[in-house]
């Protein structure tokens, strides 16, 4: 989960480092940048399309990409796709949202007290590294197979990366800035709002992006275990019914959704840290 974050950072830095050029050349280089970044994906889609067609892979098991697109179109036309996407998004976004509301304030509080964070960080690490999906049966056992258990497990999976990154962020605020704030007798609310929070944003967002990816993974798995709607259900159900194109359509929809959510977080982060 952390690997894509690191590569994206590197890419961002590279593009920033490019010297300023004229408008025309900039547009040209932006275009060639898009081309560079899409070439591998396009290659994958080409292989996906032609490998089954050429008989390299049994097309019963791997529908050519055009077939998947057609299945996506049919699902969209019948309104099923929207229904499944809506179900998955509602679960993952409400879980993610609740986790943000819990973990960010809690992380700031824990991070601010050195002893508290020294005591609690190992516990957070433990929870972070306990695969949320391993706890899925526990959630189902306690909360049933309804919406509650699905949202709860998303909350669980999202909380730890956000919490850990927020704690780290607060612990690593530049001490001279804190000294400055102290020398100005800044009251605690202003200290948090004007110094600690803005200084923590970049690291908190690393946690948010990890949590965003986790939210999608976990919701899909939970839907595969027991649900009547959602992309996870769609994939599993299609596989049972041997509706292979629909199955791939569900998979493509998830990956588009995941990339989209991550991009959204990147955009929000850029806006909040435009000073960088």
């Amino acid at each position: 989960m952390s690997a894509p974050t690191i590569t994206e950072r590197a890419v961002e830095r590279k593009t920033e480092a490019q010297p300023r050029r004229g408008a025309g050349r900039r547009a040209g280089s932006a275009l060639s940048g898009v081309a560079t970044r899409s070439v591998a994906v396009l290659l994958l889609l080409a292989v996906w399309e032609f490998a089954p067609r050429a008989g390299l892979i049994d097309s019963t098991f791997l529908t050519p990409f055009s077939g998947v697109v057609r299945a996506l179109g049919e699902l969209a036309a019948s309104g099923q796709l929207a229904e499944h996407i809506q179900a998955s998004l509602t679960r993952s976004l409400s879980g993610f949202g609740i986790a943000v509301l819990i973990a960010v304030p809690l992380g700031i509080l824990i991070g601010w007290y050195k002893t508290v964070s020294d005591v609690l960080t190992p516990l957070v690490q433990l929870f972070l590294n306990t695969a949320a999906l391993a706890l899925l049966p526990v959630f189902v056992l306690v909360l049933g197979i309804g919406e509650t258990s699905k949202i709860a497990i998303v909350v669980y999976a999202c909380t730890w990366p956000i919490l850990l990154n927020t704690i780290t962020a607060v612990r690593n605020v530049d001490p001279t800035l804190l000294k400055l704030a102290r020398s100005l007798n800044l009251p605690p609310p202003a200290l948090f709002r004007k110094v600690i929070l803005p200084a923590s944003i970049p690291t908190v967002f690393t946690g948010l992006r990890l949590a965003g990816a986790a939210a999608i993974v976990v919701v899909i798995a939970a839907e595969m275990v027991g649900a009547k709607a959602g992309l996870g259900f769609l994939i599993n159900d299609s596989q049972y019914n041997f509706a292979i194109p629909s199955m791939y359509a569900g998979i493509v929809a998830i990956s588009v959704l995941g990339v989209g959510f991550n991009q959204l977080l990147v955009v929000v982060e850029r806006r909040l840290t435009s000073w960088k």
Binding site: L184, N185, A190, V195
Partner: protein, 268 residues
């Protein structure tokens, strides 16, 4: 001249080795600083210069003696003292203007007046045209000028400067020294300036207090009297060289001792 700042028998110890022993950073500091005076404190590294400034800033409390500001004991930080840090301490997410306004917000200047005041002080440090730049777009010297503007803007009576020019290159440092003297003359602030640079001390200070190596005591206070209009390059005049040598001599033994202390600490 009225006394602005008074250190009376000030000492500061810190617990070390898990609290079993105490390290004496400062001992028996007696120092009077007059209103509007420019005092420089020099000493070898690790002699407690910064501790001394922290006590005056109210960021620490003395273990013995007391620090008086306008006759009142210092009990905590306050906006009657502005600090300029070596590492600038600028908020990276705020522009130069925003950073200067930060101090003004702390003392509750209304929003309308903040922008205007911040402008004024950025002009004082000759950075008005960089008001909307973020710290990462500014050079080290510019950053420190923003920090100085921020400290001056909320109009503290005392300016505390903790090796503010140590991280700058020689040319930038000299020009900032000139600028600081000019600002001091214009604003009449009481300035306490910490450095380990002898030239800087002689050039800036009306008085230079030399500290001993650990535990820091006042070894000597040298009054600097230079006719600054006499020569264009005051640093090459014989008087300057005489002061320089005087302080160098005072410091020399202390520096040797400080280095021995450091060696002991490393091998211990």
């Amino acid at each position: 001249m009225t006394t602005k700042i008074r250190f009376e028998g000030v000492g500061r110890t810190f617990p070390i080795r898990g609290g079993r022993e105490r390290l004496t950073a400062l001992e028996d500091i007696d120092l009077h600083i007059a209103q509007g005076e420019f005092t420089v404190i020099v000493g070898p590294s690790g002699c407690g210069k910064s501790t001394l400034l922290d006590l005056l800033a109210g960021l620490g409390t003395p273990t013995s003696g007391q620090v008086l500001l306008d006759g009142e004991p210092v009990t905590g930080p306050g906006v009657d003292r502005g600090i300029v840090f070596q590492q600038y301490a600028l908020l990276p997410w705020r522009t130069a203007q925003g950073n200067v306004e930060f101090g003004l917000e702390a003392i509750g200047v209304p929003k309308r007046d903040r922008a205007e005041l911040a402008r004024e002080y950025l002009e004082l440090v000759d950075l008005a045209s960089f008001a909307d730049r973020h710290p990462h777009e500014l050079s080290g010297g510019m950053k420190q000028r923003v920090a100085i503007a921020r400290s001056l803007a909320y109009d503290p009576g005392v300016l505390l400067m903790d090796e503010p020019f140590a991280a700058l290159d020689a040319q930038t440092r000299e020009s900032l020294q000139d600028e600081l003297r000019r600002i001091w003359q214009r604003t009449g602030k009481t300035i306490v300036f910490i450095t380990h640079g002898i030239d800087e001390a002689v050039y800036l200070g009306q008085r230079v207090a030399v500290l001993t190596s650990r535990p820091g005591r006042i070894k000597s206070v040298v009054d600097i009297v230079l006719d600054r209009s006499a020569a264009e390059d005051i640093r090459s005049t014989p008087e300057f060289a005489r002061y320089r040598h005087e302080i160098w001599t005072l410091l020399h033994d202390e520096v040797v001792r400080a280095q021995e202390l450091e060696k002991e600490a490393v091998s211990a």
